[in-house]
Symmetry: C2
Subunit: 468 residues, 2 copies
């Protein structure tokens, strides 16, 4: 982190060029003004030399050309809700904020698509298309404040991904500006298209290292008529994991299939209102959507497959109040976690659903051997588990043990055919672990692809994977 | 096409090296033996200098290294069912047939995935996973004979894509050998993963120009309990197109939504058993799948939205015989087409569903002005239309007018925000039209990406887009 090193000021000439591109009120250079554009939700911070707000693509093209010619690092930013430091300008330079490119350009209900600028908030889009009977599947927890551009840069997901996929499955095409300063379209306006290489999905999830997204054509999904919520409590994680596999192997896929493990339940027991049966070792929250005429049949079918010898209780909710009551234990988890361990390490790994029981057991073992308390919850239907290490960051011994523990967690994930990140991305946080998952030949190819898009090496250099 | 030019023989040294890699019975060099590996379903042919059959990845690595060092063109091939010439070795060199790498390595029902070699037939996979209650969504017409490797190379689809997506949405990861001769894994074994760039989808649809797929981890979908078939006949294409938009804007998505236009109906009327009502100007075949308890409700809901002032008749089928009867007119189309115009030009374009009426009207206008008979059918839910120009290839005047007409068809597609290929790919056939759809900057990037994967320029050079 560069916060302790004063960043050299921009030369007068560069500053004038930037101001010319940005126009009135479009440029910040005072460090106090730039400060809030130096952090994200990773607790990292680095001060940029300037912050520019673009209002149209031509400014993005001009800014990239300027940075390319002057060799200035350029970091694109939505609303800074990422958790891995991907938008923290740790090499200084310019932050390009897309918050003013926030127009929904077109919604075409008959073609099930919306064309938006990158600064549109996820919730703003959902509201606009919801009025027409649609939604856009990615639903990160930060939906109220995060931008579509950010969702695409990270390939964001959320609970609904289990049924509806991630950003990659719900985007038809993009308009981008590469690190060369060239504007180009990727993809199509249709739900099929095989002309040329798939640059759309290459840019999605690339964390602003290849190109800056200036427009996106999003595939919309029709809103289901209705929804039901079930809560299944099991005596142990193996029974819960077996239920997840059974649910995912039949044709009625829930629109959310979330879980909490025993340590998460144990923690909430002492800090919040608690209505789980005795002996609860794992909880699944199951949401089903569909037509009003069929939802009951779906509830019965899922109830059947969720039932196994380890099931302690299966409850269902219909009214808003009942749904809120069922979610209470799950919703108590995050505040309780923040209360107990304000500086917890929140990881985001994935294992095949059939290996979840094995994984949680391994974590319990690691917790015992390292003395680090570990609490797990997440998107069970995808095997996407948020592993929380509860540590006191002021205890250097605990910090050292946590680092060891984290190494072991990642090794365990990879030994189970898993991946180191399901939806939070890599950014700075996980960059040095990526080599454990990806083949050297794959990393070398990615470095070369990065060079094709950004030969001057200005776009968010050093994020996502170890680069030169 | 190189068929008229004798291809230089391989040197003795190269031939020995090839034989060493291929092992007993793994190499063909006699032109008569090589001949059938020189064509696909595009009516193009070029004789390769040799055909090698790999049985494991190490042979692929060795062959690529040999071709790379000697500068020999290398064309990978499944079963040659493609329609665009992508597997025709028009620059000579070696054809690598994957037909002997045909093992289903693992099926993991609890993780909803299958790991297969590229030479597995689509139908063989469907049979194996069907026995466990799953299917793999891509269902090209050639399913009985085409390979998974080919399906991935082309990003193949078929009728089910309207509900279940294409190969890109149903593949978790690959094992590939790049043109550098390096073997690497892409993607994950899970349904989520955001570590590194998305090389999986970059390779899918790249028509063997970037890397050779030696193994694929496929995402399976649970088989629906039951299916229903509807046939909706409309007075004109606009009413049918409006029904398609209405169907696609509500939450019950059909698992097939196929159409035939008025000229297709007109053609079948005179050559096959015919049971459409008078005045039929367009037909939709609608298939719905789901649980037995809910299928009736889906049929009613779709029946409602399919109904508009242009609807002439809505019929439904349940028994196998009734289903066969409803499909009779649609199924008569291909044989009739072959009978009338054995050398028809079969195009594969896509327009947004809301523009389909406009598109078909434009085609009717083009047919009148050019005197070329045009018959259209296809996957209406995706706006994916197979445009058939019925010509006599021995009439040079008609051939010239057809070429003009085709130019105009492509221009019309692009003016309606469509794409030049939905599922057949580009290969040789459409290579020279790609520049009309893609930005020059996008094409330049693709050329550079090609160079990253294949710096020696040996893998299927010249296919997919104009290359050096």
């Amino acid at each position: 982190m560069n916060t302790d090193n004063p960043i050299p000021e921009l030369s007068g000439g560069l500053r004038r060029s930037l101001a010319g591109i940005a126009g009135d009120g479009g440029l910040l250079t005072d460090p106090a003004d730039c400060w809030p554009y130096g952090y994200d939700n990773s607790r990292r911070h680095a001060l940029p030399q300037a912050v520019m707000f673009a209002t149209d693509e031509s400014q993005v093209v001009a800014l990239v050309a300027l940075c390319r010619d002057a060799g200035i690092p350029l970091t694109a930013r939505g609303r800074g809700t990422g958790t891995t430091g991907a938008t923290v300008p740790d090499r200084g330079g310019i932050v390009l904020s897309f918050e003013r490119m926030d127009s929904i350009l077109r919604i075409l209900p008959n073609d099930r698509l919306a064309i938006v600028q990158p600064g549109v908030l996820n919730a703003q889009l959902q509201q606009a298309v919801g009025d027409l009977g649609f939604f856009w599947p990615p639903d990160p927890t930060s939906a109220a404040t995060c931008t579509i551009g950010g969702n695409l840069a990270y390939n964001s997901a959320g609970p609904r991904a289990v049924k509806y996929g991630t950003a990659r499955e719900s985007t038809l095409g993009l308009r981008v500006v590469t690190g060369r300063g060239e504007s180009l379209r990727t993809g199509v306006m249709t739900t099929k298209g095989v002309v040329g290489y798939d640059l759309t999905r290459l840019v999605i999830g690339s964390e602003g290292t290849l190109a800056l997204i200036t427009e996106a054509t999003l595939k919309l999904t029709p809103l289901p008529e209705t929804k039901r919520t079930l809560r299944a409590t099991y005596g142990d994680i193996h029974s819960a994991a077996a239920a997840v596999s059974a649910i995912m192997a039949q044709p009625i896929i829930p629109c959310a299939l979330e879980f909490m493990d025993g340590s998460a339940i144990e923690m909430v027991r002492h800090y919040a209102e608690f209505d789980l049966p005795d002996g609860a070792g794992a909880v699944l929250m199951i949401e089903l959507d569909g037509s009003a005429a069929c939802i009951e049949e779906s509830v019965s079918a899922i109830g059947e497959v969720a039932r196994n010898p380890g099931l302690l209780e299966l409850r269902r909710a219909e009214s808003k109040e009942e749904i809120a009551a069922l979610w209470k234990t799950r919703k108590a988890l995050s505040p309780t976690l923040r209360h107990i361990a304000p500086k917890k390490i929140n990881e985001d790994v994935v294992v095949p659903v059939s290996r979840m029981g094995e994984f949680i057991e391994g974590l319990e073992r690691l917790s015992r051997t390292t003395g680090i308390r570990i609490v797990n919850f997440g998107h069970a239907g995808n095997g996407n588990i948020h592993v929380n290490l509860l540590i006191d960051p002021d205890d250097p011994d605990e910090v050292a043990r946590a680092a060891e523990c984290l190494d072991a967690v990642f090794a365990l994930v990879l030994s189970l055919d898993g991946t180191l990140s399901g939806e939070h991305g890599v950014g700075i946080e996980k960059r040095d672990f990526v080599g454990q998952e990806l083949d050297p030949a794959a990393l070398a190819l990615m470095t070369e692809i990065k060079r094709c898009f950004d030969p001057a090496g200005i776009l968010n250099v050093g994020k996502g994977f170890p680069q030169g």
